[in-house]
Amino acid sequence: MRSLRTITLAALAGVLTLGVAACGSSSSSKSANAGVSAPEGVQTPATESLTGGKKGGTLNVVNHEDFEHIDPGQSYFAIDYQAVYATNRPLYSYKPNSFKEPVPDMAEGPPQVSSDAKTITIHIRHGVHFGPPVNREVTSADVAYALDRGANPNVANPYFEAYFKSLEGFSKANGGPIAGIKTPDKYTIVLKLTEPKAAIAAAALVLPVSAAVPEEYAKKYDAKKPSEYGNFQVATGPYMWKADASGKVLGVGYQPGKSATFVRNPNWSASTDFRPGYLDQINLSIGGDPTVIGRQVLEGSHIVQNDTPAQSIVKLAFEKFRKQLLIAPGSGNRYVALNNSHGPFTNVNLRKAVWAALDREAMDKARGGSLVTIPATHYIYPEVPGFEQAGGVTGPKFDYNEHPQGDPAVAAKYMKLAGYPSGKYTGGKTIQVVGSTGNPASVDAEIVNQTLKNMGFKTKFNLVDQATMYSKFCGVVTEEIDVCPNVGWLADFGDGQAALQVPFDGKYIITNGTNSNWPQSNHPKINKAMEVAENVVGASARAVAWAKIDKELVEEAVAPVWDWDKQPAIESKDVAGVADVWNEAGWDYGFTSLK
């Protein structure tokens, strides 16, 4: 899961439905995707133009948050991706407003998957060059080295194991060459797998770990613990981090917590790329008060804000600067992780009772209401393939997920089925609820805690900062936390497996690492269904298979899901911003231009 991120592959039908729903007309059009569309006058990634931008100029970007990791082998965060995808070219990428399928980026064409789904062959483009100080043509060996880095502990890539562990030789991989990655010639790379998992491995090639890295240059930096390649990185995209002659970025083009500067990559050739690269330079300033930043953007010139604007600024933009506001659907889900493996919530009817009792509408209101949220009914969220197949906005219908404002009568029904005839929990055990500090997360956590107390639970309620919540409590299986109200998931790319497997498959309950199956969902039937669906080939077949699993997860009420996020983004009036729907409305520097 990337923080504040999602890469999606929604069907074109999804885009068309947005248009219908935006008209706000009939009830029939409303039923399928009501709430997914943006209000009238507000931009969406689906309506923005990718061509005809003015060339030249400097875009100023304001962020109140800093990057997490700028190394393409390690980055896994919305803001990081905006820089990484402007400066690096993975094998495949998504166009900003294209949900259907990834397009070849460093690759020349689609991946060729063998009939046994154990081999993937990719041909890479001729004539793509590294930026300074390497200044040579990119070859398949550079892509192979980039993938090898995925298993290098000094790089600490967060997702490589999840999607590429079926590579031959993966179990022994430690940063050196992986046996299953072959480069028969300068422009061909072949991935050999031990299992028929080509579908997911090929889909994951949109991730930045597949962006070429020159071994002869990077090896000395990768030998450091941790790797320092990020601070000396070389570009393949239209832009590069400003660097000195040796390639040093840190302290030159990147001052952590202060600023970043991107300049044109002199070796980039437009004829090899689908990005127009209109801008000459991007100056990024880090820090500041979100409300001040927001006003600077709305009232200023040539500025965009990259991270999430403050709630008050979104409201101001909606009321007074509507044309400068963009809302992107499909920005992840949020759910209440009830511990399925330990404590009272091993009882499925108790989980259903909590789901039924929860006022999800109030929780969404705390996040900013319908402008930026949709009360969720299931786990695959808008824009991810399988969302429509799983029932769209209304989702699979069960009485406990039907009423977003909560239904005490249904909750009482499931309490009785759970063995509590009074409709109140009388088990006596005090349950531990760990939420996240900061508004609106703490408000949502309070709502969940109060709901549990109303149901008769005695709770021990703690709010800690988000990093601590995950790394010390909710992500630690042995802590046996009963309820984590502030967890959520963003698929790494547009595939149902990326949206559902890690957070809900029993085999992803990690006892000694970073556990992201927070509800500790481990239901044999669902685990088995996921195992089968992993090997399904073909986009539509996979969407159907994972939508079915989505329904089963709702049927088991593994975790009451309460929100599908919509992401707002703001720009100055003289910026022709293009936002990435696959990157949670992050402004795409490769397409954005000045008016």
Binding site: G230, N231, G251, G288, S471
Partner: protein, 320 residues
């Protein structure tokens, strides 16, 4: 005097060692999150986390870890690396020090000049309209939270988002060496905010202290000798009344150098306070450790300077 200073310096070093030990215990023995997992990032395997644990030396006995930590700190002034940017903490702090020093020292000049000026005038005309007005104003400024005051000044006076566009707004800070004029203008509003609350406190302090001193016998004697009122007040009155101000000034500057996070955030000044705040937000422990250690250093040095200043200002003070 020299022996006293040397002794105070040695105490200061001991205090820093104690602070560093406490920080070590806080972040290595009782961390709010596992440093190896934080360094590893999201969705990591056990194998990667174990490797990182070894790389960070977290698998070694605690006493060994502390020894290595102190050795690196004392011999190389090495405060470690950020979990996120891999940047050396030492250079991150040193890069941000000029911005914080500019903010705090400039602010101190403003609050000293305005606070002492208003306080002295009020003391000379106690219970006058001017006195009541200035002390009332001081009460308002003391009560105004810095963050709020900063936002108000920006919304009123900032060149970009203000109603009366006079001063550069947030994110306009530049280093003194790159453009002295821009440096000065970009800091006018932040200086006013930093100074506001302190000026009010200082005005009230000096007023009270000076009223008391001006009632002393030696002041009457000075006047009887025929000295000018200006000389009586400034040379004899203020010099005696200023001792509590010096004490609090040293502490205030020391504390602000390590914790001016609110003003730095509102005005987007890349200083140490904001570095610390961002690091706390992301549980970037090496930076938190480094900035807290620096803050402790500022306070200790400020205290020593205050003690030395005492001897100069008040000849009655003697150190043994």
């Amino acid at each position: 005097m020299t022996r006293y200073i040397v002794r105070r310096l040695l105490w200061g070093v001991l205090l820093l060692i104690i602070v560093s030990a406490l920080l070590f215990v806080m972040f290595r023995v009782f961390p709010t999150a596992d440093p190896a997992k934080l360094r590893a990032g999201r969705l990591q395997s056990q194998k990667i986390i174990a490797e990182i644990r070894v790389n960070l030396g977290l698998n070694k006995p605690l006493i060994t870890q502390y020894w290595i930590y102190m050795k690196n700190l004392v011999l190389h002034f090495d405060l470690g690396y950020s979990y996120y940017s891999n940047a050396p903490v030492k250079s991150l702090i040193l890069e941000r020090l000029p911005a914080t020093v500019s903010l705090v020292l400039g602010g101190a000049v403003v609050w000293l000049v305005s606070g002492l000026g208003v306080g002295i005038i009020s003391a000379l005309r106690p219970r006058s309209r001017l006195d009541r007005f200035s002390m009332g104003g001081a009460l308002v400024l003391v009560s105004a939270p810095e963050y709020w005051l900063g936002l108000i000044l920006l919304y009123v006076f900032a060149a970009d988002i203000g109603q009366v566009k006079i001063f550069p707004g947030a994110n306009s800070y530049v280093g003194l060496t790159s453009d002295p004029v821009k440096w000065f203008t970009s800091l006018i509003l932040p200086w006013l905010v930093v100074a506001a609350g302190n000026a009010a406190i200082y005005a009230r302090l000096i007023r009270g202290s000076l009223i008391e001193v001006l009632g002393q016998d030696y002041i009457r004697t000075a006047r009887a000798k025929g000295l000018t009122e200006r000389r009586v007040v400034l040379r004899h009155g203020v010099r005696s009344a200023i001792n509590p101000i010096v004490t609090i000034l040293g502490l205030d500057i020391g504390v602000l150098l390590g914790s001016s996070v609110l003003v730095e955030t509102v005005f987007d000044i890349p200083g140490i306070g904001r570095l610390n705040f961002d690091a706390i937000t992301h549980s970037d422990f090496p930076i938190v450790q480094g900035t807290v250690l620096f803050a402790a250093l500022f306070i200790i040095v400020a205290n020593i300077l205050v003690d030395i200043a005492y001897a100069y200002l008040d000849p009655r003070v003697r150190y043994s």
